[in-house]
Subunit: 240 residues, 2 copies
């Protein structure tokens, strides 16, 4: 009996992933590593960037700043003499709540790729949709502030699951909160077992050296496909 | 010369608004007032509800709990012997980041409208999309935690503009933050001049009486079209 051989296409790419791969190819050609940086509004993304982007050892950093409207965060970072490109999503009625690959692609010509080694894409503040759209990044990092409560990994599992690094920010406030750090870490491991995490405070500087080191490792990735030393266990499918 | 009279339809309703109006008609028939309760993740919506929903003077409260997945907040509120209905948006890949009128409509048959006077719809934690979708509510309330920073009204103007009341939560943490309350209020008035605001702390109880009073006024609205005493200046277009 003749058996028809069926070829299975493992991942039928949607339009976003197709464009993300095109972005990725362009970033690779320019030898630029890319980080997708995400969090809820007010978790401290910009403050954490301000502390490291101007003096990352051996790497020149650029920032693509995603906001519904305005350029406040971009202005903060540009004052550090780092190249910053603003990408506003507010063209629609209330604005898009995330960046997608096509938005990033539309900004490519405005990015000084030849002058940087690492591009940090600061996404719109939101714990849902940004995790659903790859943009061509090498690594995804999220910030979760302890002020947001310890159940957040369980409520927004895709976001916590999608990241290679979780920055647990505002730990200087722990003495003033009813926040059970052990419970948070338990919840985090429940949705993303063993994911790397750093306890940080943008206010006191605690953990910022480790944060700078992690970002430096991403910037030093030798080529597409390699993972930073700290992210050895990163699954292949985490890469676009 | 003959001039053709052109009738202008002021607001071409989209499908969401059409369904929101149907919801509103059903709520009105049941004499149930409805609040759309919104914030970023972790701002304190559920904690602020826990403090008031079980003993609102003269009004029986029910809650429709919107989450990407899980029922943690619903469980917390149900333990107060308040009727709670869970509405999960996670059917898609990563879940919907907001409630819309059709999702609320799909939950109508599960709501004990005959047993309540006020329905609080706790939206998905997000400062962008929830503000874009009316669901048939009488009033929209948002929570902004001081831990999120004073520039939030400028970064998410539609959300702050869409609300009749802004609860400024976690004020017990003010001594421990670099948060300029005057600057926040200035930014708030820049995007929504004079909007009602209450300084509250779910942790210490500060401002909770005023919060209970405001919700009680909404519950006591005599009929569709009337505004709570505290929201006299509410523009007509703020109502679905």
């Amino acid at each position: 009996m003749h058996r028809t051989k069926v070829r299975i296409v493992e991942e039928a790419l949607d339009a976003n992933n197709t464009i993300a791969q095109a972005n990725r190819a362009d970033f690779d050609r320019a030898r630029v590593r890319v980080v997708n940086f995400m969090s809820a509004p007010g978790a401290g993304k910009t403050s954490l960037l301000e502390l490291v982007v101007a003096d990352l050892p051996g790497a020149r950093v650029g920032v693509l700043e995603g906001d519904v409207q305005g350029s406040m965060d971009a202005d903060r970072l540009a004052s550090l003499h780092v190249p910053v490109t603003q990408l506003n999503t507010g063209a629609g009625f209330g604005g898009e709540c995330h960046l997608d690959a096509n938005m990033v692609r539309s900004a490519l010509s405005e990015l000084p790729l030849e002058d940087i080694d690492l591009l940090v894409i600061e996404n719109v503040g939101n714990l849902v949709c940004p995790a659903e759209f790859r943009v061509g990044e090498d690594a995804r990092i999220m910030v979760s502030a302890v002020t947001e409560g310890e159940e957040k990994p369980l409520k927004y599992p895709l976001m916590f699951r999608a990241c290679e690094l979780v920055l647990i920010n505002k730990i200087d406030l722990l003495p003033h909160l009813d926040f059970d750090l052990d419970r948070f870490l338990y919840n985090l491991d429940a949705v993303h077992p063993g994911v790397e995490r750093l306890l940080v405070s943008a206010r006191t500087g605690e953990g910022i050296e480790e944060w700078r080191d992690w970002l430096t490792q991403v910037a030093a990735l030798p080529d597409a496909g390699a993972a930073p030393a700290g992210a050895a266990a990163r699954p292949a499918e985490a890469r676009v």
